[in-house]
């Protein structure tokens, strides 16, 4: 593939010693709405976190826009799972969206007028501007989700990774989020979305990554949604692989022999 937006190369990642992603390898085209699907515990969130540098892989590597993440961090934005924070935190909607404008280069500096304008624009895009002064503890699930998306938008990135933006969201919020994502795609942004609903996925996305610890399929939506692929991802477990994973976890066994990892990168 030419100029992939993300390249995941032979990625193996463990959580509590148990491998949850195993030799996952794919490249993604830019400017698409990409859905990451798979059953519970299939490693979707882990994969997103590994791409964002939040989890260190046991082996393999990730390249974003052909570079290491650190070199293109300003062009990448991330929407974590809504449940990953305590919404009882003393802050209002604007405070949270402005966090998207924080910048490691301006740690002491106060936020500028431009930062505020970008935050307002982001809130407008998710139809949350009337709630700017609302306490975040008083928001509904769908509104919280839209605040997180607005925070990511405020970063003005080219690539967006979103973890379950449609989870626990009412129909109206789902509609407005989807509309937003489609609009972003039209502006040439690339969006990668962890999703849990097979029914809607077919209509939402251009490209699908089907995951079940190992990569089942990655490709245009019509090619990936075959009976055979879905059976491999959702029908029963990959018994040998999960048995091996249990074994690795119980013996705290290293997943690669020492020294091999570096050679592999070459």
């Amino acid at each position: 593939m030419k100029n992939p937006i993300i390249e995941v190369h032979n990625l193996t990642v463990s959580y509590n010693k148990r491998p949850v992603l195993w030799d996952v390898d794919y490249e993604l085209p830019p400017g698409q709405l990409i859905g990451v699907l798979g059953p519970n515990g299939s490693g979707k969130t882990t994969m997103l976190k590994t791409i964002m540098g939040l989890i260190r892989p046991d082996s393999g590597f990730v390249e974003v826009m052909g570079k290491k993440l650190d070199e293109v961090r300003d062009k990448v934005s991330y929407v974590p799972q809504r449940e990953s924070v305590d919404w009882d935190f003393p802050a209002n909607v604007m405070d949270v969206v402005l966090m998207g404008r924080y910048n490691p280069k301006h740690m002491f500096r106060r936020l500028s007028k431009e930062d505020r304008e970008l935050a307002v624009a982001a809130l407008e895009k998710v139809n949350m501007l009337p709630f700017a002064e609302r306490q975040i503890s008083q928001l509904s699930g769908g509104q919280q989700q839209r605040v997180f998306i607005a925070r990511a938008l405020a970063r003005q990135a080219d690539l967006y990774l979103m973890d379950e933006p449609f989870a626990g969201v009412d129909a109206a919020s789902e509609e407005s989020i989807l509309e937003l994502l489609t609009g972003m795609k039209a502006e040439g942004k690339s969006i990668m979305v962890v999703h849990h609903d097979l029914q809607t996925a077919r209509n939402f996305f251009d490209w699908i990554i089907l995951l079940n610890t190992s990569l089942v399929a990655s490709g245009p939506v019509n090619e990936v949604f075959t009976e055979q692929n879905l059976q491999a991802a959702y029908g029963g477990k990959l018994t040998v692989l999960s048995q091996i994973a249990d074994l690795v976890a119980s013996k705290a066994f290293p997943l690669r022999e020492k020294g091999l990892q570096d050679r592999e990168k070459l």
Binding site: G53, R73, P90, N103
Partner: protein
């Protein structure tokens, strides 16, 4: 009264030192405590406080002096080691954070007591006063102490102001901070260091044993009053500072009284006041709200009963005896009379010779309640598809909270129905 004036005039330089010192220590601990509180690590302050004792003892044993700089350095080192130990145990073992905190706290404190006992048995003349670290020594702070500890307290406040934005983000959502490239490890190290230093200086005032209160209480109390982080920090700082003033005043007017424990008593009073009287979140506000709700339900139920009696008798103007109302609907002992009195005060009912009757104002109001009840019953039947014999109970509660806007919406959605599921008329 005289002693209060004398205290407030700050004429006595000793008083000046003690007050200034206590205020600065109280403020810096409170401000730093807001972040430990919000990161749900309230007990970290307690662990650090206890873990600082061995550091102070070792610093004294090595240097043989009670120079505040040296003791502070010892305190900071062992306090910092305890934070690192808790962090490593939590990350690398299966033990949960609370166990790690408990373990580190008791081990470090045990060693500290051991060293302290050893020092005291040596008969070294200059050791006198080292045991004051257990319960604080605010009242006997020297000018040098105040300079050092107050200075460090000021420094901590400046660090928090400088890194306010970043500390806020790593307290709310550290993963996002990492993703946008903030040096989270450094910021966490900085916050831990600030906490250790706040505890190390705070101990001067209240001692190891009570230090947790200086970290946790102001933040916990302040959280009741606001939903804004900056405001919460300011309120916590004010609580911390006032407690410092209060504690030093007590020990000024009654020299046998210890300052530290009185600072903590003052903090506790702030927590109690917040718990009880804070708007919306306080017990009293909640109690009043419950009372209001209860009163609304009671009076509206009486109005409804009066309406239903009138509806049956085709006469809304007649007066009804208590027994007649009770026949229509059960009320708790005394409740009916209490409710009627409230309604009478609001001119919705009047007491007549043979009982109570609705005023014209009361009739309108009772019609509204019955209308809402029957509209909601219709909604449950038509839109939620409940069976007719199930809709009443649901409507009993909801009728009291439906706003005029929702009422209009209901009527539109239901096509302005005339009769409820039990075929009673929906009054207009």
């Amino acid at each position: 009264m005289n002693s209060l004036l004398e205290f407030l005039s700050l004429a006595d330089p000793n008083v000046r030192f003690v007050v200034l010192g206590s205020v600065l220590l109280g403020m810096s601990s409170a401000v730093v405590g807001c972040f430990t509180f919000l990161r749900k690590r309230a007990l970290l302050g307690d662990a650090i406080a206890h873990s600082i004792l061995p550091g102070i003892c070792l610093a004294f044993m090595v240097s043989g002096s009670k120079n505040p700089w040296i003791l502070l350095a010892g305190a900071a080192v062992s306090g910092w080691l305890s934070v690192a130990a808790i962090d490593i145990i939590t990350r690398k073992s299966k033990l949960k954070p609370d166990t790690a905190v408990g373990l580190v706290l008791s081990v470090f404190f045990g060693v500290g007591i051991l060293l302290l006992t050893h020092i005291q048995h040596q008969g070294n003349a200059s050791q006198a006063g080292l045991d004051k670290f257990l319960f604080g020594k605010a009242a006997s702070m020297t000018s040098e102490d105040v300079l050092v500890f107050g200075g460090v307290g000021m420094l901590l406040l400046l660090v928090v102001i400088a890194f306010y934005k970043e500390f806020k983000l790593i307290s709310f959502n550290p993963e996002f901070a990492k993703v946008i490239g903030l040096p989270v490890a450094f910021l966490e190290f900085l916050l831990a260091t600030v906490t250790v230093l706040a505890v190390a200086v705070g101990i001067q005032a209240v001692g190891v044993v009570l230090m947790a209160a200086l970290i946790i209480s102001p933040a916990a109390a302040a959280r009741f009053w606001t939903e804004k982080l900056a405001v919460m920090i300011v309120i916590a700082a004010i609580f911390g500072a006032l407690s410092g003033v209060f504690g030093s005043f007590i020990s000024f007017s009654a020299p046998s009284m210890p300052t530290g424990p009185w600072i903590v008593v003052a903090l506790t009073v702030f927590v109690m006041i917040s718990l009880l009287f804070a708007p919306q979140k306080g017990f009293v506000a909640r109690w009043l709200r419950d009372g209001n709700n209860h009163e609304k339900i009671l009076t509206e139920n009486i109005l409804k009963a009066l309406y239903q009696i009138g509806e049956k008798a085709r006469d809304f103007a007649g007066s009804r005896e208590l027994a007649e109302i009770r026949e229509r609907r059960e009320f708790g002992p005394g409740e009916l009379k209490r409710g009627l009195r409230i309604l009478a005060r609001r001119k919705l009912v009047v007491e007549a010779a043979t009982g109570w009757r609705l005023t014209s104002l009361g009739l309108t109001e009772s019609r509204r309640v019955v209308r809402l009840h029957r509209l909601w019953e219709m909604y449950l039947k038509e839109k939620i598809r409940l069976k007719e014999d199930h809709v009443h109970a649901g409507a009993e509660a909801i009728e009291h909270i439906i706003t005029p806007e929702i009422e209009r919406l209901l009527e539109e959605k239901l096509g302005f129905p005339e009769r409820d599921p039990h075929n009673s008329e929906i009054p207009r």
